[in-house]
């Protein structure tokens, strides 16, 4: 087991290094003098010279890269030019809001997709299956910011059932927090539910063809017991893997959802930073999300290997 974990970490390291090179290069792509860009509206030559010194902008690019990487490795992602706060601090301030949004949306997506996927597979080619498949494809095709706007129009403006926007921390007013999070979480979860439902349906169909299912049925077990006890557990494994891979998609979706519902999370942080020309924040957020994605996938792989004894740790057949 340990060699597998180390092997997986070793393949993640070059990827992480390339990610840092890419993030650094995006900053270099910016047209104009980086010192002027980092200075924002502050055009005082002394300030610009200070920034040039601080970020070693007079040094050759490889030297600049390694200096920046050294800072990153110490957890220093720079400072916001707007608020003067460290970028790391900003990220950790906003992250809990997005994590809460993502967790509720995962819960909604799982609650919708698993039953619908299972029923679609068990009743293949029935009206329920066609309806489920159509809704899944619609979920993949609907732009979530438009779905958000439409829900606000109906549920908040017309029926006045839920607040249209804003955020209240959970620890201050839990009920108010949930009232404000349920609609954005549903919007964010729609695309995920569609992906999971399609995966659940196809993996369930695959499992239902297996010999042990036929054996269980031949033994006289009731159909729904076979499905719930035997098929579902095995069919869920690829669905969980897909869920891990979709976390990046959730972060992308959060950028738009937080914008529509004015939620002060991670996604709104990056969009506001782009419009404020706060490039240190943009760079920090992009690097953080990519690194987090690699780390989460590493965890998913290791957890998957631990949970599934058929996976060989040595790379050969077990």
């Amino acid at each position: 087991m340990l060699p597998f974990i180390f092997q997986r970490i070793f393949t993640a390291i070059p990827t992480l290094i390339i990610v840092t090179v890419m993030v650094f290069s995006i900053q270099r792509l910016l047209p104009g003098d980086p010192a002027l860009i980092l200075a924002g509206e502050e055009q005082d030559p002394q300030v610009i010279e200070y920034i040039r010194d601080k970020y070693r902008l007079n040094d050759p690019i490889p030297v600049q890269y390694f200096a920046w990487l050294g800072q990153v490795l110490q957890g220093n992602l720079g400072q916001s030019i707007r608020t003067n706060q460290p970028v790391t601090q900003l990220i950790f301030q906003k992250l809990p809001v997005t994590i809460e949004l993502a967790l509720i949306s995962i819960l909604i997506a799982v609650l919708i997709s698993i039953p619908v996927g299972v029923i679609s597979a068990v009743r293949k080619n029935s009206l329920i299956d066609y309806t489920g498949t159509f809704f899944a494809l619609s979920g993949l095709s609907i732009p979530n910011f438009w779905l958000g706007i439409m829900l606000i129009l109906l549920i908040s403006v017309r029926w006045d059932l839920l607040p249209a926007s804003g955020f209240v921390p959970f620890n201050e007013e839990p009920l108010e927090n949930l009232k404000r999070m349920i609609m954005p979480a549903f919007v964010l979860g729609t695309g995920l539910a569609a992906v999971l439902m399609r995966q659940m349906r196809s993996s369930m169909l695959e499992v239902l063809k297996q010999d042990y299912i036929r054996t269980a049925e031949a033994k006289g077990l009731i159909k729904h017991l076979v499905v719930l006890r035997h098929a579902l557990r095995n069919a869920l494994i690829p669905v969980i893997t897909i869920l891990g891979l979709q976390l990046g998609g959730l972060l992308s979706g959060a950028v738009l959802t937080e914008q529509v519902f004015t939620i002060p999370g991670f996604g709104k942080l990056v969009v506001d930073a782009v419009f404020n020309r706060d490039y240190a924040v943009v760079q920090g957020v992009v690097l953080f999300t990519a690194a987090a994605y690699i780390f989460i996938n590493l965890l998913v792989d290791v957890a998957y290997a631990l949970a599934n004894p058929r996976i060989s740790f040595s790379g050969g057949k077990s």
Partner: protein, 290 residues
């Protein structure tokens, strides 16, 4: 140089394509989706002839008028006809969808071919770059690139194209790895055919179907990505109409003019759904297992 077995191979490929076409034509949903795509293409091409009003010209006498006989879908905050703007908006969405996927194919397929065909160190380097690109959430990468390059439709297309590239690298590489092991490729190698000739004549045509399916589905994703960037203000710049840009403004007038938000979003939804259904139809047609 001719390689033995090329003719039967061509005949086999033609037979497979013919069968796929027949199977595709027998799927009504995919055909309807194709017609919907054609409908939007016609709208985009003939926008100047079809739009009843100038989509960019403000008319402050007709600000935020609800749908009526004069303005079928109503007007926006500057009195511009929403129907005309939706018609012109199809241009930005379709152009962005097609060109960004073209960029992704142009970058992704050659790297995938090289990576799969040559294996070894080159493969390792390309795959690590692909993994790194995949690590960036799609929209966050597109936002960062669009912000770095500056907000415009061209830059949005470049950003979406780059962000969509890894999928094509991975897909092409996988196809090459399976085709490479086929006898006809081994035969071509044994008869002394050059690498580029094997790649272009044998490997690439046999990878065509999955790349086409992926391209169709990616167009759907690219249209959503373009409208997302325009919604955030990083794509098409006003007053040029785009569906995402129209929704960005519409969200500020949800109480006063709810009709502003309905049509651009519905257009995105229907177009993307059509591309997804068309892609699904193509996938089923080319995949004999189903």
């Amino acid at each position: 140089m001719s390689v033995q077995g090329l003719e039967p191979l061509k005949a086999r490929r033609f037979k497979i394509q013919n069968r796929a076409l027949r199977r595709f034509l027998s799927r009504p949903v995919a055909l309807i989706a194709g017609l919907v795509i054609l409908f939007f293409v016609i709208i985009a091409v003939f926008a100047p002839q079809l739009a009843p009003y100038d989509p960019a010209k403000p008319d402050f006498v007709s600000v935020r008028k609800p749908p009526s006989d004069t303005y079928l879908l109503g007007t926006d905050e500057n009195g511009r006809d929403i129907l005309s703007r939706v018609i012109y908006g199809a241009r930005a969405s379709l152009v962005a969808g097609v060109i960004s996927v073209f960029i992704a194919v142009l970058l992704g397929v050659p790297f995938g071919l090289i990576s799969g065909y040559y294996s070894g160190f080159l493969d390792e380097v390309i795959m690590r770059f692909t993994d790194a690109l995949l690590a960036f959430p799609f929209l966050i990468l597109a936002v960062a690139l669009a912000a770095a390059l500056g907000p415009s439709l061209t830059n949005a297309m470049i950003a979406i194209g780059i962000a969509s590239t890894p999928a094509f690298i991975r897909l092409t590489r996988g196809q090459v790895l399976s085709v490479k092991a086929e006898e006809f490729v081994q035969a071509a190698k044994a008869s002394g055919a050059r690498d580029w000739r094997i790649i272009l004549l044998y490997v690439l045509p046999n990878s065509f179907a999955p790349i086409l399916v992926q391209a169709t589905v990616t167009i759907a994703g690219a249209i959503i990505a373009e409208s997302s960037l325009s919604f955030l203000g990083l794509g098409v710049q006003p007053p040029t109409p785009s569906w995402g840009g129209m929704l960005n403004v519409a969200k500020n007038y949800m109480n006063q003019a709810p009709w502003m938000a309905v049509w651009p979003g519905l257009s995105i939804f229907v177009t993307v759904l059509a591309f997804n259904l068309f892609g699904d139809g193509l996938r089923d047609a080319f995949d004999p297992r189903d």
